[in-house]
Symmetry: C2
Subunit: 162 residues, 2 copies
Amino acid sequence: MIGSTIENLLLENQSDFLISADKVAHVMDTNPLTHALLVLSKVRYSKIPVLNAQDELVGFIGLTNIVDEMFDLDEVEPNNLNDKKVADVMDVDITFINNTSDVERLFHLAVDHPFIPVSDENNKFMGIVTRKELLKAVNHLMHTLGNDYDLKPKKVEIRKFG
Amino acid sequence: MIGSTIENLLLENQSDFLISADKVAHVMDTNPLTHALLVLSKVRYSKIPVLNAQDELVGFIGLTNIVDEMFDLDEVEPNNLNDKKVADVMDVDITFINNTSDVERLFHLAVDHPFIPVSDENNKFMGIVTRKELLKAVNHLMHTLGNDYDLKPKKVEIRKFG
């Protein structure tokens, strides 16, 4: 339990941590791999979301997935990308959340995920929560607690039985 | 100021946040680009440190740097990598720290840097601090404060003049 004081301080400078879908670079599952390669080399993120025609999150793709596909043993062969689609090489192991106000779960997931995708109850992709935004809030939390709060260990209650 | 209670709780489970150099994948500035491509596609990190023969950090390289170099307008041309070295395409804009015990600066830098390189006073590369390790410590901090501490806003002192 992280407690309401901490939750309130984390969210003091923003309504939530969401970066909305219209601001997040993505590709479609039916896009040619060569298109994804262009997008990824332009945006310079290591991994971006893949959506289907219903705006549902169906995977992630990064340069690693595409470079892997180009390798013939130790040689790079760009023709390997011809006729391949994003869906053929994307990672489909997805962890997402429906509720950005579950701060405890967000911070727990952020340990292993550079960003956490958010979907609504109909599975529509709503955006992402990034480690960067969470760390901004952590800096604010730690400074406010350090400057404006007294932090006292709770007294340990010793119970005697019998 | 983040305060000693918070600093002590952040470091309760570890002596510092450093992942030592021998555990960090890296390439040398004189390595051929094709070698860096192999290393990066194997380790699956988006960016790794580049060291020189004196074990000094001289840059970073990621798949993006290498893919950029392969592009001829819209076509991928792997022969563009021939005879190129890591030093020719690496990012040389480096932010590093000498002192992992400056927790305040670490968390400040982590907002904009997925990992923070650490060098000793002779410029020798010592390792990195990652957002993952910092976020682990944040989770511990928030749970301990939430469960075991009383958080009370300090009384605001109202001074009357005159």
